[in-house]
């Protein structure tokens, strides 16, 4: 083949390219840390757990960086690792999550607030007035985790339904039904606070 003697430089170049790709991967992943943490924080109960979970996620991501396909959604890839780790940590999978019918409509919170304080309560600034920051965090954490995870991914993580389905490894239809129910539960929890 007449290429004897080039094997070593080629090998060295390949190693150098791989090292460069790896550095780039690590930089891109680190740039997403704050966004990953925001989601993690609402998956678990405490800041310490969220920090641990994010650290374990990055440790695993850095080890298995070659299974990431460049050009795909890195943030979703990291969240997929995080979700798996969170499940490995013994979070119980709710096989038949809460099938009791939910009477309230999507407009439930709005209608409860209107009933107690009139239509103008729906104006943006009044929403903020009536719902404290604490009440939102408390109401969200009271939503069972199967539903909450989807709400957190879509509403806080800004993921599409399709991304959420991939991250949680559930069908798209399940994402939609859990999101629907999760948001209704969140609003029912908020209504207790906002109207009482």
């Amino acid at each position: 083949m007449g290429e004897s003697g080039t094997a070593e430089p080629d090998g060295a170049r390949r190693v150098a390219t791989e090292a460069r790709d790896r550095v780039r991967f690590e930089e891109e992943a680190l740039a997403l840390a704050d966004q990953v943490y925001r989601v993690a924080r609402r998956f678990v109960a405490t800041r310490e757990e969220a920090e641990d979970l994010v650290q374990d996620t990055y440790a695993r991501a850095f080890r298995s960086w070659q299974s990431y396909t460049p050009g795909t959604n890195l943030r979703a890839w990291l969240l997929r690792i995080l979700t798996n780790l969170n499940t490995d940590r013994g979070r119980k999978i709710q096989r038949r999550p809460d099938e009791t019918p939910l009477e309230e409509s999507d407009y439930y919170l709005a209608n409860r607030m209107v009933a107690s304080a009139g239509e103008q309560v729906l104006d943006q600034e009044r929403v903020v007035e009536r719902l404290s920051q604490d009440s939102i965090v408390t109401a969200l954490s009271a939503v069972p985790h199967d539903f909450r995870d989807v709400v957190v991914l879509v509403d806080i993580g800004d993921f599409s339904y399709a991304d959420a389905a991939q991250i949680l490894d559930i069908p798209l239809g399940t994402v939609m039904s859990r999101l629907h129910r999760g948001r209704r539960l969140l609003k029912a929890n908020l209504a207790e606070e906002a109207v009482s």
């Binding site: 920090e51 994010v54 850095f62 407009y107």
Partner: protein, 80 residues
């Protein structure tokens, strides 16, 4: 199902930008003509923004450095 019920059913998907084009037309034409649903649409939109901003907690100081320490490239085959 009344038009308002139909609108309510589509509203979350509309806010998520996950509706089909045909559904968007149904939702928007109802919202344009219905004060009741339009108010609720605005309420849902502002609630969404408010939940996002209040529930999103920033990464604690120090975590970024801990994550950077987890990088493996310091021990790359190049030995740099």
């Amino acid at each position: 199902m009344s038009d308002c019920d139909k609108c309510e059913e589509l509203l979350q998907g509309y806010l998520d930008r996950e509706l089909s084009d045909a559904e968007v037309v149904v939702a928007e034409s109802h919202l344009n003509g219905c004060d009741y649903c339009r108010r609720r649409y605005r309420f849902e939109a502002s609630l969404r923004v408010y939940v996002r901003t209040t529930a999103a907690e920033r990464m604690p100081p120090g975590l970024a450095a801990k994550l950077a320490d987890l990088r493996t490239t310091g021990a790359s085959p190049l030995g740099n």
